[in-house]
């Protein structure tokens, strides 16, 4: 726990108490904006200044676009936003690679404003929506709040103004359903982030996934690499999906329903299905504002595949401007293209296997391919990633393992626990036995979640997606 988290723990309940007695939506918006700026300022006043600048700039660009929907104005907005993002996110990484640049010392020490990738993409989605003629006419206050909305500003989900604006303008009454649902989501999120931390740190210090990746495994074996890849996939999922639960739950306490960001991604049976379940707010953003416009440019099949690969590379680079993230995006682009080709071949040659076989096989291949991709996402260096991938395709490397047994145990327990929980939830839904816990039992479960999520691990790792 750090100072910022403590500030959230103090400020959010106070805001909640002040929020509900207010009747006018404008007063509520003002309070929420004040809270959002206060909380964001805790990360640095310069970051707040940048956020306000970007918000005002994009509001002005939106006004221009509303007056006349021209591609030139849209491009100007896109370029300004990308330039702003690149200055902080990509230039410090790129400049050292360019020989003889005198600007390197200037950019080398620039700190990355927290959440810049998220709120820049929110601003861009607003410009695209206005350009496409959507009826969005936010007031300045509403737009500032949209950009700085405290639950989402740090790590998403990347929202659309069309979803938030109507909710900002409503003045709903306090509903117990919202409160319980919000608290439930926060507690689920706390438990999930705690699980992510167990995977990262291991049961015993120095025996978690983080240490295994840092040690770079000079003689890693096949089972080790698979354990690391699958384990990291779940660590990332628990961490980011847990964070998303907390954010969605926190917004719900204020009567605001955010879009979901994850939908049981590891049940996906194809790569394209995976991307409709994992980090949905970003993948839908890429689909709507990059892939679909690109596809419209030409009608040829090769162009469609190229657009897919380019979109996924951008997806990867959104996380960080490194070769590894570009490769990760490229890898997923190729997976999507291969899946599309497979579907085409199936249709052309009329291949049909029983659903029970093809479903299971398809899930296994998708799960394996997605998991292997996490090596590129997490590896400390390109050489480490290549070495790990080489091990995967070397049959002789599968004869032994080097990672501690308890790491295998933790990974297996988390994976089986995840699928077991999904199965149990589905059964409950099927037999219409949804949990309807009494108030007292809820408080007891909240206590367990708070203990597991906050108190047990006082020195929690930061949420992984803050760095993006």
């Amino acid at each position: 726990m750090n100072s910022q988290t403590l500030l959230y723990v103090v400020i959010v309940p106070v805001t909640w108490l002040l929020f509900w007695p207010l009747k006018a939506s404008r007063s509520r918006q003002t309070l929420m904006l004040f809270t959002s700026y206060l909380l964001y300022a805790s990360w640095g006043l310069r970051f707040l200044a940048l956020l306000v600048f970007s918000s005002l700039l994009n509001y002005a660009l939106g006004l221009c676009l509303r007056r006349r929907q021209s591609a030139t104005r849209l491009w100007a907005g896109v370029i300004l936003n990308i330039a702003l993002l690149s200055t902080f996110k990509y230039l410090p990484a790129i400049l050292p690679l360019l020989p003889g640049t005198s600007l390197e010392p200037v950019f080398a020490h620039i700190a990355l404003p927290v959440g810049i990738s998220f709120w820049t993409f929110q601003a861009l989605s607003y410009l695209f929506d206005v350009y496409q003629g959507k009826n969005l006419e936010p007031s300045l206050l509403e737009f500032l709040l949209y950009m700085a909305f405290w639950p989402t500003v740090l790590s998403g989900p990347i929202c659309r103004l069309s979803n938030l604006l109507p909710q900002f303008r409503e003045s709903p009454k306090l509903s117990l359903e919202d409160v319980w649902c919000g608290l439930d989501r926060i507690c689920i999120g706390l438990v999930m982030t705690a699980l992510g931390q167990v995977l990262a740190n291991g049961i015993h210090p120095g025996q978690g996934l983080d240490d295994a990746f840092h040690r770079s495994l000079p003689g890693g074996t096949g089972p080790d690499v698979w354990c690391l890849a699958i384990g990291y996939g779940f660590e990332l999922f628990f961490n980011f999906a847990g964070y998303s639960h907390i954010v969605i739950g926190a917004a719900r306490l204020f009567g605001i329903r955010l879009e979901e960001n994850f939908a049981r991604p590891y049940l996906a049976t194809t790569p394209s299905e995976f991307w409709t379940r994992w980090h949905m707010s970003l993948s839908f953003w890429i689909r709507d504002y990059l892939f679909l416009p690109l596809v419209m440019v030409r009608r040829e099949m090769w162009w469609r595949s190229a657009a897919l690969v380019v979109s996924m590379i951008v997806f990867g680079l959104w996380h960080k401007g490194t070769v590894l993230f570009a490769m990760w995006g490229f890898y997923h682009g190729v997976l999507l293209v291969l899946h599309r080709k497979w579907q085409q071949s199936q249709r052309r040659f009329g291949w049909q296997l029983p659903h029970s076989i093809i479903g299971g096989l398809s899930w296994l291949i998708t799960f394996g391919a997605i998991s292997l991709g996490w090596i590129l996402f997490r590896a400390s260096s390109l050489s480490q990633a290549l070495m790990m991938l080489r091990v995967v395709v070397t049959p002789s490397s599968y004869m032994s393992h080097m990672l501690p047994r308890n790491l295998y145990f933790v990974v297996c327990a988390c994976v089986l626990g995840y699928f077991g929980t999904i199965g149990a939830t589905s059964l409950c839904c099927r037999y219409n036995k949804l949990f309807n816990l009494p108030l007292e039992a809820r408080f007891a479960l909240y206590a367990v979640a708070v203990y597991v999520g906050i108190l047990h691990a006082a020195e929690t790792q930061a949420f992984i997606y803050f760095q993006f």
Partner: protein, 380 residues
Amino acid sequence: MKDWLILGRCVLGVVIFVVVLELCARVDDALSYGAPLSGPYSSENLFLQDQIGKRGRPGARYQKWRLNSLGYRGPELRSETIRIECIGASETFGLYEAEGREYPRQLERDLNSRARKDSFQVVNVALVGQTVATAALRVPETVDEIHPTIAIIYPSVADYIWLAWVRDNPVSSATSRMTDSGQPRVRIRIELRITERVGNLLKQALPQFVQTKLRQLVIDEDTVKNHYPIMDRVPNENVRRFQKDLLRLVAALRARGVEPVLVTHATVFGNLLPVRDWDLLVAWRKFYPMLREGGFLDMEQRMNDVIRAVASQEQILLIDASNEMPPGRKYFVDFSHFTTAGAEMMASLLADGLEPLIDARLSQGRLVAPSRPAELKKRH
């Protein structure tokens, strides 16, 4: 009526919330550290009081700290090993390092990896708050129990700020905190284990300036309550007393055939002056409210000069950690306690420093391993 019922249930819910939190903390302690589910559980469990002062309770365990059957932090003694004992206070006992990564443990691994066999055992006889004077009084029993060949002395010098805290004679009767059976008196009160966790969490989360302000309040309160005079620097008399006690410790070890090695005291500040991290000095002063913040580094310098002078006078191997340990938060959690990386660095410095002495001793055939572990008396 319905509203009151809901309110009542919410209050009951809050009570349940706190009770379940406490239960979670107790189950967590039981699963992680084998702690009892009921009864008191604190760091005090690790220690006993005897005529000399505080000592380790044999076989005690609290969280990551485990004492062996002799009451020393670390594993049981092994036979056929060359033993090196580490004398010191909390820096040596280990506070913030990961389990088994305090510098004596890391030194043992370092020496054994250099020797390419398991021939050394480093025994951590340090205790939190142990002064050089008390360590000198403990020498006969520790040497009897451990049979060390070398004793590394890494003294915590700050206790000499206030001489009333330095005891140099065994007390004749048990201290007031002891019962007739030698067990500490159990104070009957309900202690919530969750409060310590919340406290730790707040320590991590409160901004530095708030923590410093709170510490300053505690210092002011402590000073008024105990009528401490405020000093700008440690009196010369205290420095002389430190020197006297250090000489006594060295003499006691030598009298029992143990070769002492002196180590100067390292801090997070290194030799960097003026100090940039004033907050850390305030944190340090919280334990010694009578000395103004500016006096701590002066004290360190003068006490380290004493260590160097004693080493030179007595022709003892000196390892100058205060000069060689890099300053900064990478190696120190606070003013003087190590991080795991700091303990590793310290162990490496010590291993480098000890190497010539060990080589010389080995060539003279003067490094002998005690052969029978049975000769070691177990304390009960």
